[in-house]
C-alpha cells in the first residue's frame, strides 16, 4: 500500500470520542451502537456522569466492556434492535459504523426510534483526496491503521455529505446539526465542506409528525 494513499479515518481514533463527548449533555442516558470495547461509554459514565449502555456483536469486544463495568447487549446492527424499547435513551451514538453495515437504512431508522437524538459519525467519500485518488490513480480508499484492501475491508458503503442528506430526507430524519470534521476538529460551518471534510458528525432527530 502506498503511503501517499488517502485513508479513511480510523474508527477507533480517540479524537472522535472527544468530539462526541462535547456533544453529549452531562447526566444523559446514552446508548452506543457498535460500542467496541466500551471506551467511550466508560468515559461518559466516569467523566460526564452519564448512564450508559453498549451494543456490540463481537464477543471479545463485548467482554472488554464487561471488564470496564459497562453494561452491553449482544446484537447485530444489521437487524432491528429487538428488545430495545422506543425512546429510552437521550442519545444514540453510531460512530464510524454506518458504512460497515449491510443495511444502513435499518439502523438509521432504529437510532432515532430508541433515542431522542442520535450522533452519527460517517466518513465523507466526497473528500477531495478520495476523488483525486479515484480519478487520477484509479484506486479505492482504504482505512488508515488497518491492513484492509477493497476486497476485505469492513467498510461496505461509501457516502458523501450530499448522499447522506438525501438519505436522511428519505427516511424522514431531521438533520439538526451537520458538523464537518476537518483535520480532526469539528466545524459549525466550513467552506467547501463536502470536499474538505474527512468525516461528518451528524446530530439527528426524528421529524415531528404533523398533527
Amino acid at each position: 500500500m502506498s503511503s501517499k494513499r488517502f485513508c479513511l479515518p480510523d474508527p477507533k481514533a480517540a479524537i472522535t470520542d472527544e468530539l462526541l463527548m462535547q456533544h453529549i449533555e452531562r447526566g444523559s442516558r446514552v446508548i452506543d451502537l457498535g460500542c467496541g470495547d466500551g471506551r467511550l461509554l466508560q468515559r461518559l459514565r466516569d467523566e460526564h456522569d452519564c448512564s450508559v449502555q453498549g451494543v456490540e456483536l463481537d464477543l471479545d469486544e463485548l467482554l472488554a466492556c464487561v471488564a470496564r463495568g459497562v453494561p452491553v447487549l449482544r446484537a447485530d446492527l444489521d437487524h432491528k434492535l429487538d428488545g430495545i424499547p422506543d425512546d429510552v435513551f437521550d442519545y444514540a451514538v453510531l460512530s464510524q459504523t454506518l458504512q460497515q453495515l449491510r443495511h444502513p437504512t435499518t439502523i438509521l431508522t432504529e437510532v432515532v426510534r430508541v433515542a431522542k437524538r442520535a450522533l452519527v459519525v460517517v466518513p465523507n467519500f466526497g473528500h477531495w483526496r478520495v476523488r483525486y485518488q479515484v480519478v487520477w490513480h484509479g484506486r479505492a480508499p482504504v482505512t488508515s491503521e488497518l491492513p484492509y484492501e477493497w476486497y476485505n475491508t469492513p467498510n461496505l458503503h461509501f457516502m458523501s455529505m450530499r448522499d447522506f442528506r438525501d438519505l436522511a430526507e428519505r427516511l424522514n430524519i431531521e438533520i439538526a446539526q451537520e458538523l464537518p470534521i476537518i483535520r480532526g476538529s469539528a466545524h459549525e460551518r466550513a467552506w467547501l465542506a463536502n470536499l474538505r471534510a474527512e468525516s461528518l458528525l451528524y446530530l439527528l432527530e426524528r421529524k415531528a409528525v404533523a398533527t
Partner: protein, 389 residues
C-alpha cells in the same frame, strides 16, 4: 438436566464437601406459602464452598434447576461416581472462583435431596406427605433461600446465579427481595414458561400419574414406586434439553448393535438415541422422587413474573442490582426472544443490564456445558460488581 460427566481434576476442585442442614420457619413463624397455606418447620439441605469474607461481601447463591440439588461441586466421598452438577463452573480458579467467593447452594423446597418436600414426614399424620404436600411456587422456593441466607449471617449477596428453573428463581428473588442482592445472573431462562414448555411438563406428569405403581402418590414403603412413569417423564424432558443438531451430532441414525436393521417390532433400543434415552430414564429413577417431580414441574408451569407483579417492569424495577443474562442459539425451550423481553423491561427501568446470546448447538443444556464463554463473562462481571460498579 442431562447427566454429562465432568472430568475431575483434584487440583482444581473444591474436593470433599458435606451437605449441611438448617431448620427454618419454626412455629410460630411458619412460612406462608403463595397458595395461602402455612408450612413449617422447614429443613433446608445446603452446601457452601470457599470462605465468607470479614466484610461479608463475597457471598454468591446458586439456584439449581429442575432436577439439581445442593451439591454443586466437589465430592461427598471417594466412591462417588460423579462430582457436583456444576463442577466445571464452581471451584478454585473457575467461573465462580471459590478462592475469592463464598458460594452457597440449597436444595429447593419440595425437592427430594434433603430439603422438606413430599418425601418428608407430615407431622399431622406421621406419614410422608406424598401428594398432600402443599402446592409450592418458585416464590416459595425463593422465600426459603432468602431466609437461609439470613440464617447464614449474610445481609446482602454479591450475586444470585441460576439457569433454567434456577434462572426463574433469580428473577423471582429480584422481585421479592430487591435489596438482598447486588447482581442477578440469569442463564437460559425466562419470565414465564412457554405453552410448549408446559405441554412437555403435562406429558411428563401424565406418565407418572398413569403408572399403576404411583398409587396416588402413596408409594413410599412399597417395594417399587412409579419407576416406568418417572423414567418416561425424564425421557420426554430430556429431548427438550437438547437440540436437533446435538441429537444428530451425538447419535445420528447409528444403531446400538451391528449395522443392520432387525425388523423386530419388540426391539425398543435399536437406535443409539433410543438406548441413550432409556439409560437417562433409568439413571434418573435412581436419584429422583416422582412426587417431587410433580411438585417442581407444577411450580415451573405456574411461574409468570409479569402476571404475579403486574408487569415485568414492576417485578424487576425495584432493585438496584446489576443484571447478566444469557441465552443460547439452539435453545428452543427457553428461546432468546424470552430473554429479550427481560432486557426490554430492564432497559425501560434503567437497569444495568448485560445480555449475551451465545452460539451453541447444545440446546437448553448449553448453560451447563458451555462453560468457557460463561466463565469469561461472569468473572469480570462479578469483579466489577464487587468493586461497586
Amino acid at each position: 438436566m442431562t447427566d454429562e460427566q465432568p472430568s475431575f481434576d483434584p487440583d482444581h476442585s473444591v474436593g470433599f464437601v458435606e451437605t449441611q442442614f438448617a431448620t427454618l420457619f419454626e412455629s410460630p413463624n411458619e412460612l406462608v406459602l403463595e397458595s395461602g397455606a402455612k408450612l413449617g418447620p422447614i429443613t433446608v439441605a445446603y452446601e457452601t464452598y470457599g470462605e465468607l469474607s470479614p466484610e461479608k461481601d463475597n457471598a454468591i447463591f446458586v439456584c439449581h434447576a429442575l432436577t439439581g440439588d445442593a451439591h454443586v461441586a466437589g465430592w461427598h466421598d471417594a466412591k462417588d461416581r460423579k462430582p457436583g452438577w456444576w463442577e466445571d463452573f464452581v471451584g478454585p480458579g473457575k467461573g465462580l472462583d471459590t478462592n475469592r467467593y463464598f458460594v452457597i447452594c440449597a436444595n429447593v423446597l419440595a425437592g427430594c435431596k434433603g430439603t422438606t418436600g413430599p418425601m418428608s414426614v407430615d407431622p399431622a399424620t406421621g406419614k410422608p406427605y406424598g401428594l398432600h404436600f402443599p402446592f409450592i411456587t418458585v416464590g416459595d422456593m425463593v422465600a426459603v433461600h432468602s431466609e437461609l441466607v439470613r440464617h447464614l449471617g449474610v445481609d446482602r449477596l454479591l450475586a444470585v446465579v441460576g439457569g433454567s428453573l434456577g434462572g426463574m428463581q433469580v428473577l423471582e428473588w429480584v422481585a421479592r427481595f430487591p435489596d438482598q442482592i447486588r447482581a442477578a445472573v440469569c442463564l437460559a431462562s425466562a419470565a414465564r414458561l412457554s405453552a410448549q414448555g408446559i405441554a412437555f411438563n403435562v406429558v411428563g406428569r401424565r406418565a407418572i400419574l398413569s403408572d399403576p405403581m404411583f398409587k396416588n402418590g402413596e408409594y413410599y414403603g412399597e417395594p417399587e414406586g412409579p419407576r416406568y412413569g418417572l423414567a418416561l417423564a425424564r425421557m420426554v424432558a430430556h429431548i427438550t434439553y437438547l437440540s436437533e443438531v446435538s441429537f444428530e451430532d451425538k447419535f445420528g441414525r447409528r444403531l446400538q448393535q451391528g449395522d443392520r436393521l432387525q425388523y423386530n417390532l419388540e426391539k425398543e433400543t435399536e437406535f443409539q438415541v433410543g438406548s441413550y434415552l432409556h439409560y437417562q430414564g433409568k439413571r434418573f429413577v435412581e436419584r429422583f422422587d416422582a412426587n417431587s417431580y410433580l411438585c417442581l414441574t407444577h411450580a415451573m408451569d405456574y411461574f409468570d413474573l409479569a402476571e404475579t407483579y403486574g408487569s415485568l417492569e414492576q417485578a424487576l424495577g425495584r432493585t438496584n442490582a446489576r443484571f447478566l443474562l444469557s441465552s443460547y442459539t439452539s435453545d428452543w425451550l427457553f428461546p432468546t426472544t424470552q430473554s429479550r423481553e427481560l432486557v426490554s423491561a430492564l432497559l425501560n427501568r434503567r437497569k444495568d443490564v448485560t445480555f449475551v446470546e451465545l452460539e451453541s448447538s447444545k440446546g437448553h443444556d448449553a448453560f451447563l456445558l458451555e462453560i468457557e464463554p460463561l466463565q469469561r463473562m461472569i468473572e469480570p462481571f462479578l469483579e466489577q460488581t464487587r468493586a461497586g460498579q
